[in-house]
Amino acid sequence: MKIFYLPDLGEGLAEAEVREWYVKEGDMVKVDQPLVSMETAKAVVDVPSPYAGKIVQLHGKANAIIKTGAPFITFETDEVPSHINAPRDQVPDKGSVVGKLETSEKKWDDGNVIIGAPKAKSIAVKAMPAARVLANQLNVDLSLVKPTGPQGLITPDDVKQLINQQSHSTQLPGQTEALHGVRRAMAQVMALSHREVVPVTIIEDADITELPPKSDISVRLIKAIVAATKEEPSLNAWFDGKSLERKLFNEVHLGLAVDTAEGLFVPVIKNAESHSEQELRQIIDDYKKSVSTRSVSPTDLQGATISLSNFGMIAGRYATPIIVPPAVAILGCGRSREVAIPRQGQIIIGRIMPLSLTFDHRAVTGGEATHFLGSVIRHLLERK
């Protein structure tokens, strides 16, 4: 025997009225079969059977008021009663007649609640949105900017002002001297090269023991470079880093670094491949003279496809010569000297010339560069 207690038919309803029974005592019923029509304060609803089995007793006739949770119908059934089918005072209070409230044993930890705002506060930088964007783009720390806007507001101009100050910020003490002419051009070109070029320098000693004494090393080097560019043309080239284009040259316009008190000059030996050794020596001597008298023409200083810096006349063995864009290679020649050289099990006193080749790794591979340097050395030692 199971007793079905009247459930809450609405939301917190205390009772309901029987309008019409659809079944009578002794009837067999199925689960969910409508048993009765009930009227509540909210609506008329049919109550479905919670069990399958036989109706033993109906607790109330038509128009009877049944309290929520009071015995309603007695069944004869084998089914286990569901949790809802218990007298109302035995049902645990879920805290609501509708929905499910989350409950937990959790402690509500409010910590240190502050009514209103915390007292201590740091004053934030106030900046116009455009000034913030500009500062972000220019990588400027807004806290360093001096505000001139209304109410201490940083304006975009304030950000630019700081940038201007920073670019002039290296204050040199005492009298200074502005750079002019060649020295100024050198500063600009070298800075450009440093910004753009990805330089790699490889060094090697050329064993020049076998070269006849009084050989014209400069001319020999130029001839060797010309010959090497035929084997490895990628070093006799111009490169444009923006468009990523290169131009290889058949002719060799060789820039020759000439140091003067005024600054660095790089006159260009045009079509170096077309000149004899005597002609090359003549051109070199002419350039040295015209550079020292400042009579070298601007066109003579342009268009180098590769350069040679013979710095060893003064001092210095190895160097990392700087490429002048758009060229991609420069060969530095250091001071040659006598060294002990092992040869066929013997130590002989020989002579070496240190060579330093800088190439722009954006345009030239390491393999091409080493091949080129090897080729220069081989041609340098060629006997005519």
Binding site: E11, G12, A14, A41, K42, D93, G95, S96, V97, V98, G99, K100, L101, E102, T103, S104, E105, K106, K107, W108, D109, D110, G111, V113, I114, I115, G116, A117, P118, K121, S122, I123, A124, V125, K126, A127, M128, P129, R132, N136, Q151, L153
Partner: protein, 326 residues
């Protein structure tokens, strides 16, 4: 001190003030014998009798009208609506009368009534039991809208609301009713109205929220802390009138703001806060304000509820977005 839930704190505040002030009346559907749909008023009728704890008919407009009449004549009624979705029949009374009584009578009458109702989703109830339409009341001149988010604030703010001489819409986050317990002294001390509560201090971003979303927002702040982002959490508590001073003071420090509310995005209270933030703190902002809110839809049924309610994850993602502005 005993540890009590938020709904018990509501009950405790009502009992305290009924004891202290014989003018306080509790009324609503099933509030007396049944103790209220969420049991917020349980036991009050036994203590204070059926003359002060009134079971009303199922007629919300009447509940509000009756309460306004009582308030105009000097009583302090606290009227309960079973769910926020049931308050709409009473809106005529609330907007046209409760909110205007002081103005209409040039100050001769005031309307010290508290309209209490549970609100918000997350309890697997039908959709008109789940909404958060606080903006409708916040938009109405003459109403004060107060939302507690912890047992202690439910107790202190409800006492303050009952003692206030003007009408208060007091919205109780049903999702938090029994979520956790807190020690609350039953000492009758009210908390101030019209002021935010800073629940957690931080330097990188200000999270502004209220009601049930305080739970997810605090959880997000804690997770952000582990990621090295220091979040300040502000419980607005009184959404009308807004305490912008506290929010702006925080933004002066952090320069970044995420507003979290369960109500739909469009014309939510978050829109008002964002507007004032831009008007008054634009030059302190490092990033545009973000809102993490419910969607512009009816609150879905139980299965989809958790997708509707802004999650800890959504809050954290919003913070990550604005942290990209340096």
């Amino acid at each position: 001190m005993t540890e009590i839930t938020l709904v018990e704190a509501v009950n405790q505040a009502l009992a305290y003030e009924m004891e202290a002030n014989p003018d306080v009346i509790v009324m609503g559907e099933d509030v007396a014998k049944d103790g209220g749909v969420f049991r917020a008023t349980v036991g009050l009728v036994d203590k204070f009798g059926p003359e002060r704890v009134l079971d009303t008919p199922l007629a919300e407009s009447m509940i509000a009208g009756l309460a306004i009449g009582m308030a105009a004549r000097g009583l302090k009624p606290v009227a309960e609506f079973q769910f926020m979705g049931f308050i709409y029949p009473a809106i005529d009374q609330i907007i046209n009368h409760a909110a205007r009584l002081r103005n209409r009578t040039r100050g001769r009458l005031s309307c010290p009534v508290v309209f209490r109702t549970p609100f918000g989703a997350g309890i697997h109830a039908p959709e008109h039991h789940s909404e958060s339409t606080e903006a409708m009341f916040a938009h109405t001149p003459g109403l004060r809208v107060v939302i507690p988010s912890s047992p202690a604030r439910a107790y202190g703010l409800l006492l303050a609301s009952i003692r206030d001489p003007d009408p208060v819409v007091f919205l109780e986050p049903s999702r938090l009713y029994r979520f956790a317990k807190q020690e609350v002294a039953n000492d009758g001390k009210a908390l101030p109205l019209d002021v935010c509560f800073t629940l957690r201090m931080g330097d990188d971003v200000t999270l502004v929220t209220w009601g049930a979303m305080v739970k997810e927002t605090l959880a997000a702040a804690s997770a952000l802390h582990d990621q090295g982002i220091s979040a300040e959490v502000i419980d607005v508590a009184t959404i009308k009138p807004l305490d912008m001073d506290t929010i702006l003071a925080s933004l002066e420090k952090t320069g970044r703001c995420v507003i979290v509310h369960e109500a739909p995005l469009t014309c939510g209270v978050g829109a008002e806060i964002a507007a004032q933030v831009v008007e008054k703190a634009l030059f302190s902002l490092k990033a545009p304000p973000e809102r993490v809110t419910g969607f512009d839809t009816i609150v879905p049924y139980a299965k989809l509820e958790k997708y509707y309610i802004p999650s800890e994850k959504r809050i954290i993602e919003a913070v990550h977005r604005i942290m990209e502005f340096t």
